[in-house]
């Protein structure tokens, strides 16, 4: 075996370290590419008591409010946001609480492809004396502001599902009744004009801390070219985090 300089062995170590550096660099580069999958900030539900909290969300027919600096292709993507602005990809909720969710729905309706989602599922307790569980007449749960109009179809659904093998599964699905497509644009949100929203409220309970859930919309929407034709437009905004899907974590804060 011919004698080798120590430089030879140092070279081996250096190339391995350099190699892992390249791996790390590629990982960071891919993570920062927003086009592949967007990450965003955290929205915490507002605590209203030791065991209750309120979550206010809005759904918009485009992303002007939530992603103001989007490209024109992505500007038409429907988005869920917190209140009037702020992207909500990751929602945090307190444990063992009754969560009241108010969603301001600015978007018009599109027929569901799977009737399963026409029913309210998994909600609990009552609001204003009305029982909410398993109500099949969706319009009963709409609490609207004056001057509302609504279509017979949901604009979206707000569906919370459990991650695999969760020890405390939650399943909540609420159809969000759509605004009529002929409603006039009369509300100004951050400089964008929308029709009067339908505000839908419901409640559900969280379990112990440390659990993660997913929330997602199950009513495929979008314009006729990409959204409605089979295979039913679960593309684009419907499968990019930060628009109509995200995570929900139960944690102490």
């Amino acid at each position: 075996m011919k004698p080798r300089s120590s430089g030879f062995y140092i070279g081996i170590i250096v190339s391995i370290i350099l190699g892992f550096g390249i791996v790390a660099g590629i990982a960071l580069g891919l993570r920062s590419d927003a086009g592949l999958g967007s990450e965003s900030g955290v929205l915490q539900a507002t605590k209203t008591g030791p065991n209750s909290a309120t979550l206010n969300l809005a759904t918009y027919p485009d992303s002007h409010v939530c992603h103001p600096d989007n490209s024109p292709e992505q500007a038409i993507w429907v988005t869920y946001c917190a209140g009037n602005n702020g992207v909500v990809n990751q929602i945090e909720l307190p444990p063992n609480s009754l969560i009241t969710v108010n969603i301001s729905q600015y978007d018009s309706g599109t027929a569901l492809i799977n009737d399963y989602f026409a029913q309210v599922r998994g909600t609990s307790a009552t609001l204003d004396g009305k029982p909410f569980s398993n109500i099949s007449d969706v319009s009963q749960i709409s609490k609207t502001t004056t001057g509302h109009t609504f279509s017979s179809d949901p604009g979206h659904t707000f569906t919370i599902q459990s991650v695999p093998d969760s020890s405390n599964p939650i399943f909540v699905s609420v159809p969000l009744i759509g605004v009529s497509s002929t409603a006039p644009a009369s509300v100004n949100v951050n400089g964008n004009m929308y029709p009067m929203p339908n505000v839908i409220s419901f409640q559900f309970r969280t379990g112990p801390a440390g659990m993660t859930y997913l929330w997602h919309c199950y009513d495929p929407c979008g314009d006729t070219q990409y959204g409605r034709n089979p295979p039913f437009g679960f593309s684009g905004p419907m499968w990019t985090l930060g628009y109509m899907a995200g995570t929900m974590t139960v944690t102490n804060y």
Partner: protein, 646 residues
């Protein structure tokens, strides 16, 4: 490497100027290609008013490919000789083959099969490196539960890119470098049958690589490497088109290369090189490209149909408008199954070649081995239905597909018999190539046996679509085929590059790779047995432990990749020049000097026996020792005079 180039005999013209070397070359090809892509993209984008991003992207890729070939001077031949209606002179052909071209000839439209072989080797190693980066991302994400490092959409794109880049790399890894460089010399030819098509097949691959890289900037694709419709049709972002075009161009490249190789082996064998004396590598490569000629058109057409569904809103695969996704599955897997044998056969052939040389013994049951390779090829064309057992399509055909899938185990068993018989009572010289062959055999046993589990209907019922499948195909494609490729790299590197790769680093590479690979994928077999599905961005709690162990072992695989890169770099920079026949091989490529002269042989050799007639005492003094000067002399030696046939 430049000193090897300078010793080539050149007469007449001196070194061309830099301008002559740059234009036309890869550089001008890229420039013209980018311009052409932009022009076509703008034209189509304006014509469709930006409403059909898939069409714009398709136009960009088409412009890139066509104008790259304009820029690299590929069409120059058509103009010079096609329209002028004359044959090129011998001097012009030598010019095209890169005579006196220096290092730049590797970056130009060069027809010399040795140059094309080196280009393929560099590209294959590059693709493996990029693909393995994807693999490390995957193992990073799968090391902890939850989608923590990457969002699931990014993860799906990484999985898809890792898969398709590795598949393409392993299809070309043996037929490209060794099929081009070694096979023509092995059969005693001066070049391939169609030298210009040879350059075309390589540059089509080169031009293809930026296409798949651009998917990262177009939103990625979510279907994994199989590109299943209707998911492939559903994508809003045009990243999926990158995948489709990658396949379409690659299919053209392999078809061109396949035609070239088949014609070369059929027609250009030297005198005395009968079919019965053909080295096993040539058989392996030939069978592989015949299979690919049959299979790749189906891959190509499936992607063309997906592209048509995306751009022109046809509905081949959309049920609501009369299409059917089973059509895609059948088209894809009719290609997909022979394709893995396209990958496997040449690597098994390398294993057989290397074993004979390093056991100093003829291949045991050589004719049986060739027969088994032929049988595997034929059978592989009729087994695709085992990927569709649980698709719901054609369930009455499940039984016949199970039968012929399990039948493949019989010729595979013959391969093992031949290998064991060659090792048995040989004089085994344990070098890096033979280490990789041992790895091939061990991994192939595991890979082949687990294939039976998947072929059998009652077990596939609980294993289909799970990590067991992933571990099985990694054992066969990586553990067998890629290990065979590396055996070939360490074996033929002295002949192709003129320097021998450092054996210490080679052994380190082998052990890190072998231990890391087995640790990773044996853990994933277990994960699959307990039910983990494939393509899991999110690892569910029951599967965390085997995945974490697999990711830890993958660190060893990563280290082995970097060790190999280091080995290649220091060998190229400061390796010692190699002997013309450092291993004592008997195939024809070891009888020509290193570096190999432009036309390979001064006089075409006449062959009188197979290259496996070991069993005679030392047949040629310079096989054992020989001065460096003797080995480096440009005078080719005739093959040893064999005993009369008994």
């Amino acid at each position: 490497m430049s000193e090897n180039v300078m010793t080539e005999t050149t007469t007449g013209a001196g070194r061309p100027s830099l301008r002559q070397q740059l234009f036309p070359s890869m550089v001008s090809g890229i420039i013209v290609g980018v311009i052409g892509a932009a022009v076509l993209g703008i034209i189509v984008g304006v014509a469709t008013q930006g409403k059909n991003p898939d069409a714009t992207v398709a136009a960009i890729y088409t412009g890139w490919v066509i104008f790259f070939f304009v820029g690299i001077g590929a069409f120059g031949d058509v103009l010079k000789w096609g329209f002028a209606r004359r044959e090129p002179t011998h001097a012009e052909e030598q010019q095209l083959a890169g005579k006196g071209g220096g290092l730049w000839r590797y970056f130009r439209w060069t027809t010399d099969h040795k140059v094309v072989g080196m280009q393929y080797l560099a590209t294959a190693l590059f693709l493996f490196f990029v693909g393995s980066m994807g693999a490390f991302m995957i193992r990073l994400e799968q090391s902890r539960p939850g989608a923590i490092f990457f969002p699931p959409s990014t993860y799906n794109t990484i999985v898809g890119m890792h898969g398709i880049i590795m598949i393409v790399a392993s299809v070309i890894m043996v037929s490209g470098p060794f099929g081009n460089f070694v096979v023509p010399i092995m059969i005693g030819a001066r070049d391939m049958a169609f030298p210009r098509l040879n350059a075309l097949s390589y540059w089509l691959l080169f031009v293809d690589i930026p296409i798949i890289i651009t998917t990262i900037f177009l939103g990625g694709f979510q279907t994994g490497w199989t590109g299943y419709a209707p998911l492939a049709v559903q994508e809003l972002t045009p990243g999926m088109d990158a995948y489709c075009f990658f396949i379409i161009i690659f299919a053209i490249s392999t078809t061109v290369g396949a035609m070239n190789l088949i014609t070369t082996v059929l027609v250009l064998r030297t005198r005395g090189m009968t079919w019965g004396r053909l080295p096993i590598l040539v058989w392996g490569v030939l069978l592989s490209v015949v299979l690919s000629l049959m299979a790749f058109p189906f891959f190509m057409i499936s992607q063309i149909m997906v592209v048509m569904d995306r751009i022109f809103q046809t509905s081949f695969f959309e049920a609501a408008y009369g299409g059917n996704n089973w059509v895609y599955e059948h088209l894809f897997w009719f290609f997909g199954h022979p394709e893995v044998y396209v990958i496997l056969l040449p690597a098994l052939a390398i294993a057989a070649e290397v074993t004979a040389v390093f056991s100093r013994k003829g291949i045991f049951g050589r004719r049986m081995l060739v027969g088994s390779l032929v049988t595997i090829s034929i059978l592989s064309a009729i087994v695709w239905g085992h990927h569709l057992y649980f698709s719901g399509s054609n369930t009455p055909l499940d039984a016949p597909f199970m039968l012929d899938t399990e039948l493949i185990s019989i010729p595979t068993g013959f391969f093992f018999l031949a290998m064991i018989g060659t090792f048995w009572r040989g004089k085994i010289w344990v070098t890096v190539p033979i280490l990789f062959v041992v790895g091939v055999l061990i991994n192939f046993v595991i890979g082949g046996i687990t294939g039976i589990y998947l072929a059998d209907l009652p077990t596939d019922e609980i294993l289909h679509g799970g990590m067991f499948v992933t571990a099985h195909f990694h054992f066969t494609l990586v553990g067998t085929a890629v290990f065979g490729f590396f055996a070939g790299v360490y074996y033929w590197f002295p002949k192709m590059v003129g320097k021998q790769l450092n054996p210490f680093l080679g052994r380190l590479h082998f052990w890190l790779f072998m231990i890391g690979f087995n640790g990773t994928f044996l853990s994933l077999f277990y994960a699959g047995l307990i039910g983990e599905p494939r393509w899991s961005a999110n690892i569910a709690p029951p599967f965390v432990t085997p995945n974490t162990i697999a990711s830890l072992f993958a660190i060893l695989i990563a280290a082995s990749v970097f060790v190999m890169v280091y080995n290649v770099i220091i060998t190229l920079r400061s390796g010692e020049p190699a002997l013309a026949n450092p291993w004592g091989g008997k195939t024809l490529e070891w009888t020509v000097p290193t570096p190999v002269p432009l036309e390979n042989f001064e006089e075409l050799p006449v062959v009188t026996s197979t290259p496996y007639d070991y069993g005679t005492p030392v047949s040629h003094p310079s096989d054992v020792e020989g001065s460096l000067e003797e080995q480096l002399s440009l005078q080719p030696r005739t093959p040893p005079q064999p005993q009369p046939e008994s």
